[in-house]
């Protein structure tokens, strides 16, 4: 019977987070024995995560109608870089946990399909599409990194899934499977304990409130109406930027280009941004202490992630 005391951290090469590229490599011995319902264990020198080195988002949009725009609550939301750090560290811990129990570990490819938003605010597309060059080429679609390919993914075996997640298909906790003592919460539970989870329950909720409130603000309502009239002048009937992608009387590129042109002529993005910024400032003033606590929690989680070596 295999058992897990604690995951091993000492054999991993240091992860680095320069702009644009992260790759974590593990060094060490081949993982342990095989038994029962499981696939081949993998060598420790297989990276626990693979990241594409292109298409990483910048903290603030560097082109388009949302260029240089940053909403006040963004500083409280986990950033792309922080999510990469935490997910990378957690997958490393889970890899150690799984291989330590003699199970296979297939490294995930993170943050692709397509390039990730810098944070959940999604400012470059929060008020609809804003980048004319993307619209001309892709219409409303998000561009895929050129190196992205989606292949068939193997379904984990029952044993692998149970040990990784710590529960069965019904969500019921599993303490032992195929002679393996499953750590509490599975290997995911181990990584959650050692690294933690980034929190955005408050900041994310307030970001939703500000968007919904701003959408009903008279200035935004008027700007959306002006944008809709502009679209109608160009032959496109639509009442809201989120709905413009459904227009089928022209190509998605043609509609998207018209959409952005109308946003520019009506200053829809600027008006909406200014209204929502004020709303978020008020929300921050009301919830500052709790937001700071959430941010401090995230600093600690990232520090724990970066301590994984």
């Amino acid at each position: 019977m295999n058992s897990l005391s604690r995951p091993r951290f000492g054999t991993l090469a240091r992860l680095a987070l320069p702009s644009g590229l992260v790759l974590v490599l593990a060094a060490g011995t081949v993982a342990g024995a095989t038994s029962g319902d499981r696939s081949e264990p993998v060598a420790d020198d297989v990276p626990a995560v693979r990241l594409l080195n292109e298409g990483w988002p910048s903290a603030v949009a560097d082109s388009g109608l949302a260029r240089d725009l940053s909403l006040p609550l963004e500083k409280y939301l986990p950033s792309y870089r922080e999510m990469v750090a935490v997910d990378t560290a957690r997958r490393e811990v889970e890899k150690d946990c799984m291989t330590g129990l003699g199970l296979a570990w297939t490294p995930p490819v993170l943050f692709v399909d397509p390039s990730f938003s810098y944070n959940a605010m999604n400012t470059p597309r929060r008020y609809g599409i804003t980048i004319a060059s993307e619209a001309k080429q892709h219409g409303y679609d998000l561009p895929l990194p050129s190196s992205f390919s989606s292949g068939e993914e193997a379904t984990p075996t029952d044993v692998e899934a149970a040990v990784l997640k710590g529960h069965d298909a019904a969500g019921k906790p599993v303490a032992e499977v195929a002679g393996i003592d499953v750590p509490d919460g599975g290997c995911r539970g181990v990584s959650a304990e050692d690294v933690g989870d980034l929190g955005d329950s408050l900041a994310g909720e307030l970001a939703g409130q500000s968007l919904n409130t701003s959408e009903a603000h008279p200035d935004v309502v008027a700007a959306v109406a002006a944008w809709s009239a502009c679209m109608a002048d160009q032959g496109y009937e639509t009442d809201h930027p989120y709905n413009a992608a459904n227009i089928t009387t022209a190509s998605t590129q043609e509609v998207a280009v018209a959409d952005i042109g109308c946003k520019e002529s009506t200053d829809l993005v600027g008006i909406w941004y200014r209204v929502e910024s004020e709303i978020q400032q008020d929300l921050i003033a009301e919830h500052r202490t709790a937001l700071e606590q959430e941010a401090q929690h995230n600093v600690a989680v990232v520090a724990a992630a970066e301590a994984i070596e």
């Binding site: 986990p78 999510m83 997910d87 957690r90 297939t106 490294p107 995930p108 490819v109 993170l110 943050f111 692709v112 399909d113 397509p114 990730f116 938003s117 944070n119 959940a120 605010m121 999604n122 597309r125 929060r126 609809g128 409303y140 679609d141 998000l142 292949g151 068939e152 993914e153 193997a154 379904t155 984990p156 029952d158 899934a161 997640k165 529960h167 069965d168 298909a169 019904a170 969500g171 995911r188 959650a192 980034l198 329950s201 994310g204 909720e205 970001a207 939703g208 409130q209 968007l211 919904n212 959408e215 809201h240 930027p241 989120y242 709905n243 992608a245 459904n246 227009i247 089928t248 998605t252």
Partner: protein
């Protein structure tokens, strides 16, 4: 609920991204039926499973019901997925309209509560369980537009107000192998 939500999906220009859908029978009574007449003579199917894992053990589950932490998993019918969906309304594939809905599945495991079964997925998800190996990002607009909620691997809970009952698309942020 945010204002200005969609009234009619695009037809004929958004089918390219759909792969390997598991088609199911149209429910007898479904909110998804409300707009099916918009598409004229095209046949309509209703899909609650866009998860490619053979046993549906490692999917993103978007649930119709609100989150109740007293249960091991979110309850209620769900839409299970393991891929990017640029429009939760559905998609047109050739001569067929595929509408995305919540469904009830295995009586002893996932999505095992009838509430919401057959209801259209778009703008009606309230909670989630991300049992996949990578993050997902759910948006309030189609094609990654609007506000969003990023769901980490292994997490579950309520959808926040950015996308609660305003979900219109989601993107899978990686692959598992």
């Amino acid at each position: 609920m945010a204002t200005g939500k969609r009234s009619l999906p695009g037809l004929g220009l958004m089918g390219a991204a759909v792969v390997a859908l598991a088609l199911i029978q149209a429910p007898q009574s479904s909110a998804a039926d409300e707009r099916s007449g918009d598409a004229g003579a095209l046949a309509t199917s209703y899909v609650g499973d866009t998860c490619s894992y053979s046993d549906n053990k490692s999917c993103l589950y978007l649930h119709y019901n609100s989150y109740d932490p007293t249960y091991l998993r979110p309850r209620g019918a769900c839409h299970m997925s393991s891929r990017t969906m640029t429009n939760h309304w559905g998609v047109v594939q050739g001569t067929e309209i595929v509408r995305y809905v919540f469904r009830t599945y295995n009586a002893t495991s996932y999505c095992n509560y009838a509430s919401g079964s057959g209801v259209a997925l778009v703008n009606d998800a309230a909670s989630y369980f991300n049992d996949d190996c990578v993050r997902y990002q759910v948006y309030s607009g189609t094609s990654g537009q609007g506000g969003s909620h990023i769901l980490s691997s292994g997490s579950k809970g309520p959808l926040n107000s950015s996308v609660l009952n305003t979900n219109e698309s989601h993107y899978r942020r990686g692959t598992c192998s």
